[in-house]
């Protein structure tokens, strides 16, 4: 049975139609990037003008939420809007601190053998930032802690060979 190891509640992935927000469920077999919120700028752009911008803004405010602890990974994995990275197909994983935050890169082969990669920015949710700041923790430290916790989740979940070769540059 597939074992849920951990959750990274918020990462952002840049696509042709704007930024998309994902929750990342990590199991002992795969990492599932679950689409929670996407930009609808293209819809607004097609309508055009101020009304379009207002509609786009309103649409982006709708989002999907999941109870990851009780959610079935198979259901999330079968949703075409989500990105599934099988752990036994990972050729490279990197967590890297940059100027604008911490990025996650995963290179892997999909079910047809095609090389794929997914690059995401780790973004602590606003509730977490607010809570940690109220505890006196600075913003950069919140991001760093978030990234370290994400690294720990991957180290617990990935096959030892993949985890050992992971590039952890936080």
């Amino acid at each position: 049975m597939e074992r849920k190891v951990g959750l990274i509640p918020k990462v952002m992935i840049s696509g042709p139609l704007g930024l998309k927000e994902y929750g990342v469920l990590v199991t002992d077999r795969r990492t599932i990037f679950v689409l929670e919120k996407k930009s609808s700028a293209a819809i607004g752009g097609a309508i055009g003008g101020a009304i379009g911008a207002i509609i786009a803004d309103a649409i982006t405010s709708s989002e999907r939420t999941y109870d990851y602890e009780n959610e079935n990974p198979d259901r999330l994995g079968s949703d075409e809007r989500n990105v599934v990275v099988p752990h036994d197909q990972i050729s490279r994983i990197r967590l890297k601190k940059g100027l604008s935050g911490c990025s996650l890169l995963m290179e892997y082969s999909d079910s047809s053998g095609k090389a794929r990669k997914v690059k995401a920015m780790l973004m602590p949710p606003p509730e977490l930032i607010q809570r940690r700041k109220s505890e006196g923790v600075k913003g950069k430290a919140v991001v760093a802690d978030y990234a370290k916790s994400a690294q720990r989740v991957f180290e617990l979940a990935l096959p030892a060979s993949v985890a050992q070769n992971g590039e952890w540059r936080i």
Binding site: E63, D67, E127
Partner: protein, 191 residues
């Protein structure tokens, strides 16, 4: 019915009405009016046009009874003079005939008048004149009214969508996790 649905529906209707108003506001206004000038000195008839931005007035008139008439197109100050003694010192267009055509620009969004009185020698007759006219430009009442209506509709729709987003969250409210969470720390089986 949910409050958000009512708001988005009302907003949608307002946007639709506003857009119809905007489209209507840029359509030409066409019309045919018949004016009757009673017999006697000092009688005249007029049609008033107002609220057109970048407007243009064109058309024709014909006396359907006997004789000729004096036809004028006048701005408000010219019309003030005309209505006093039918002798405007200036005008935008003046024709004394039994039929005629006119085409003038309306330089501002104020009021303009098409005025008709008896032609010289026909004061003792009741005269009837048919005027066909077309005004092009932007009808400010419909144009700006439509824009305002559409803007109000957009705001109401936006509020409706925001309310719906909140309702959706309320309905699907589930425990949310804001920090990285480890569900299971069991050691991995050896490779």
């Amino acid at each position: 019915m949910k409050k958000s649905k009512i708001m988005t529906a009302v907003g949608g209707i307002l946007i639709a009405l506003g857009l119809i108003g905007v489209v209507w506001g840029i359509q030409p206004a066409k019309g045919t009016e018949t004016l009757t000038i009673p017999s006697g000195d000092g009688y005249f008839g007029y049609l008033k046009i107002s609220g057109w931005l970048n407007g243009h007035l064109s058309g024709d008139f014909s006396v359907t009874s006997d004789g000729i008439v004096n036809f004028y197109i006048l701005d408000p100050s010219q019309y003030d003079e005309y209505s006093y003694d039918l002798q405007p010192s200036d005008n935008m267009k003046s024709i004394s005939a039994s039929t005629g055509e006119f085409s003038v620009d309306l330089p501002s969004s104020g009021s303009y008048y098409m005025a008709i009185d008896h032609g010289s020698g026909y004061e003792s007759m009741t005269q009837t004149v048919e005027i066909n006219f077309e005004v092009t430009g932007f009808d400010m009442i419909f144009l700006f009214g439509g824009i305002v209506l559409a803007a109000i509709g957009a705001v109401v729709s936006l509020l409706g969508l925001r309310v719906r987003a909140k309702e959706t969250v309320d309905v699907t409210a589930k425990p949310t996790i804001s920090d990285v969470t480890v569900f299971d720390e069991k050691p991995k089986p050896p490779n």
